[in-house]
Amino acid sequence: MIVARGLTKTYGPRTAVDHLSFTVEPGRVTGFLGPNGAGKSTTMRMILGLDRPTSGSVTVNGRSYAASPAPLREVGALLEARALHPGRSARDHLRWLAASNGIPRTRIDEVLDLVGLEAVAEQRVGRFSLGMGQRLGIAVALLGDPPVVVLDEPVNGLDPEGIRWVRNLARELAGQGRTVLVSSHLMSEMALTADHLIVVGRGRMLADCSMADFITEHASSYVRVRSPRVSDAEALLRGQGLDVDRLDDQLRVRGRNAAEIGELLGGAGLYVHELALVQSSLEDAFMTLTADSVEYATHPAETAGAVR
């Protein structure tokens, strides 16, 4: 369990993390989401005792990270930037880490096998691709078999197969009862991985809720109906007390699912040309939520309006 209380970090006049308070519970994947520069990495660095909070505190399993006698056996972390010497082999990198926390050497082969790097374990990591580097980073995180796992942008640089692997791994770790915190700036990725969401922008908390709540609250869905007798259909559905918007020849209906709406219309003898559930993406919801807090906003070209 990770508990942050009033966590704040300022660099000169710039506030990177602004009074964040949250709890990362065990047994589920918590997504830590925010645009670039939102303070995710800074927060993670403070969790790991790399950066000193300006004020506030963060504890892991009830104490500060630095107070842990064998931190790698308590918290496993994948840091965003590569934190290894390019001239050292993957195995040697794991060797010194294992030595530092009294982890037996047999565990090195276990994690190499787990991340699929056993064949290249003797190669210098400077030759590794981005994806292999990420895999090694995950091997490092799991080296101490820790009950708390912190992954900063774990899917960066991974191919689709690797992304799926990380996703399943995160879910599996949480399923084993571990505390799993995964940061990302991609809502679509989080939607597939996380049970719980912490959304930050400009260092401030924007949302701290379950994924299901986030979807209900921020992502709208409706059933799109096309019918040759659109006005009759509209009248019928409104008569059932449903929320109906009309755009030209299509209706946007909320309050019933597509099957029920189809049966209503069919029962009244109305032909239906299209009946579809439309879910506005979480990506859109996330963009709307964080629109004010994007650090380096791009301004759409003037013609961009035509795309919509």
């Binding site: 006698p69 931190p71 790698l72 590569r82 030595a99 009294g102 009950p147 049970d195 879910q279 993406s281």
Partner: protein
């Protein structure tokens, strides 16, 4: 990304949804390691030892240290032997027996600097500090590794240089025996001085964090400033020169100093040097502990 599959979050998993934290398995951090003990300084030392020997720069530096230290001493003694015997150089033959130190000390500085700046350069330092959050221990372990390795390398190099160089001096009848005044002390002193320089560079590296900058500062302090300081006027100028780390520490590593600047007595000088290194290391540790990694 519009429409479809975004809803497929939270698939059925045992124990999710309404479950509270209470029925989550409590994981024992030691479950993979039966009977394991809490890691202490020995583990940190072991980790630093592994790190030290698993990068190429270590072997390169040590190879170069030996080659420059012992090789140049031998070479210079071979070239200068007859002049020394004739008394043409105005220097004592003893001064030439550790001639290579002038260059081997550079590699000791480089090795000490790289032990920490390479970690900053590559981002490794973050892995180091997450593995061992007690940063004082990290520095202490690095210092122990450097001291041990450079002491051994320094003594071995000095002995080899003595054997090689003295062979040529002996041929001209100006060689020194191991039992002669200061010879054994200098061979041992080579190890001590290089170890001290390594730790000095470690501290500089911790404070400056960039390889090139730290190397420049380290070498400038030990070599350039040390020599230039002799140009300072008056007795205070002489004292400043004598107390600078390279001048103070170097005397213990030489059988006899070259003519020129005055130096402290070998062991007094080394005492001063050791105190300076210790003070710098202390400052570096304090800064390192406060700073964000």
């Amino acid at each position: 990304m519009s429409a479809t599959p975004t809803v497929s979050t939270a698939p059925a998993r045992p124990g999710t949804g309404s479950s509270s934290a209470a029925d989550v398995v409590r994981l024992d951090p030691n479950r993979h390691v039966p009977g394991v003990r809490q890691p202490g300084f020995a583990q940190v030392l072991h980790a630093e030892w592994v790190k030290f020997w698993t990068v190429r720069s270590t072997r390169w530096s040590l190879g170069l240290l030996f080659l420059l230290g012992a090789g140049l001493t031998t070479l210079v003694c071979w070239a200068a032997a007859s002049d020394l015997a004739a008394g043409d150089t105005g220097e004592a033959p003893a001064a030439f027996l550790t001639w290579g130190l002038l260059f081997s000390q550079l590699t000791a500085l480089a090795l000490g600097t790289l032990v920490v700046t390479s970690e900053y350069g590559t981002g490794m330092i973050r892995a180091t500090v997450t593995a061992v959050p007690r940063r004082g221990r990290v520095v202490a372990a690095k210092a122990v590794v450097l001291t041990v390795v450079l002491f051994v390398a320094g003594v071995v190099t000095a002995v080899a240089g003595y054997l090689g160089g003295n062979w040529f001096l002996d041929r001209e009848g100006v060689g020194l025996a191991l039992s002669d005044d200061g010879v054994l002390r200098a061979l041992l002193g080579n190890g001590l001085y290089l170890a001290g320089l390594g730790v000095f560079a470690l501290a500089t590296g911790l404070l400056i964090r960039h390889t090139a900058a730290a190397l420049t500062v380290g070498m400038a302090l030990v070599l350039v400033v040390g020599n230039v300081a002799y140009a300072l006027p008056g007795t205070w100028g002489e004292w400043v020169a004598k107390l600078l780390p390279g001048n103070a520490g170097g005397a213990v590593a030489q059988v006899a100093p070259f003519n020129g600047g005055a130096v402290l007595a070998p062991w007094t000088g080394f005492g001063v040097f050791a105190a300076e290194v210790a003070a710098l290391l202390l400052v570096a540790v304090l800064v390192f502990r406060r700073r964000d990694a």
